[in-house]
């Protein structure tokens, strides 16, 4: 096909396209707005329910364990981390929602690459390796010590409790790392894809 033939065929495609009415377009827009809002609310409410649930548990158990300072300190630190995680996840979710699609392709690719790179490869990207075991251990301790109905130090001296804690910690750690690595792998593929596209766009050699 010659150039003008290509363009004529393309014009035919344009003419052959089945166009939507304004009403249909309006319905598409309304449906998508609803779906997006529901997804955002679902993610947010899941986050809030999990974090608030944990905070309520921590407050309740801390009050019931008056005098056990180590247990209370554990719960306090866990509470602060949970609250911070809730705020950070809310802000990150908002940031991810603001995707400026109206930029030129190259600029848009660079913006997404920068955002994903900071998250996946930036200064604090490996923090999860340290944070996950600490959090899992603290949550395990908080739940286990409370339901043993003994002071923190006594539970730590009990061999059976230690076995239980180690087993719970190992399972919790495995599940958490597995989930995080799945998400990271998916996002790393996205980043690689965006980098490839950027390369395709900018490399003229």
């Amino acid at each position: 096909m010659k150039n003008n033939e290509l363009q004529n065929t393309w014009k035919n495609i344009d003419a052959e396209i089945n166009r939507k009415t304004t009403d249909e377009l309006n319905q598409y827009l309304a449906a998508k707005c609803r779906k997006t809002m529901n997804k955002f609310l679902f993610l947010l409410s899941f986050d809030i329910v999990a974090a608030v649930g944990l905070i309520v548990f921590l407050i309740f158990t801390t009050i019931n364990r008056e005098g056990d300072l180590i247990y209370q300190a554990n719960n306090l630190i866990l509470g602060v981390i949970t609250l911070s995680a809730l705020i950070v996840s809310f802000l990150s979710l908002k940031k991810l929602q603001v995707n400026k699609y109206n930029l030129p392709l190259k600029e848009w690719l660079e913006q997404r690459i920068k955002l994903l790179s900071a998250w996946l490869l930036g200064k604090y990207s490996k923090l999860y390796i340290v944070l996950i075991p600490v959090l899992v251990a603290m949550i395990m301790l908080s739940i286990h010590v409370y339901y043993e109905y003994k002071p923190f130090l006594e539970v730590m001296k009990d061999g059976e409790s230690i076995y239980g804690l180690v087993a719970g910690f190992t399972i919790g750690l495995f599940v958490s790392y597995f989930a995080v690595s799945k998400i990271r792998k998916y996002q790393l593929k996205n980043l690689e894809f965006l980098n490839d596209l950027h390369e395709q766009l900018c490399n003229i050699n």
Binding site: W10, N12, N26, R112, L197
Partner: protein, 164 residues
Amino acid sequence: MESLKEEFLEILSNYQGILHKVNLIYFRNKSEREDNFQEIIYQLWKSFPKLQNKNSIGSWIYAVSINTSISRLKKESRIVYREKLPELIDKFDLIEELTFSDASRRLLKAIYNLNEIDKSIMLLYLEEKSYDEIAEILGISKSNVGVRINRAKEALKQNLSHEK
């Protein structure tokens, strides 16, 4: 708000061909195209209030449509797949519900076989956009546009010869 929405829907109605064409070159099946069509409309609506220059509506719609489509593509299911298994493209269910002519189908299949960037270059070239407009939509220099168009045309012609 209502008048803004009416204005948006009127523009969308007039320019919807762009959305359909971007969809056709990036997605192989109907459900993917339907999802992406909705997503583009939503992204256009989100950025519509910030649209300053009403003279460049076309460029804005192209940019949002291309960027939205690209963001939905997943590397593992598209680029590698297509390069390694070209025979699968024959199963391209492009137009399961539409009635395109044979020439149109051949051209669409050939464009679909291009890489993601060449697809957008070819789309804008076939839409008879100027180098300036293409450079603005893609964010690259005019000289780069010229080089890329020639390469994309060559690749397209090769794909078309395979389609015969």
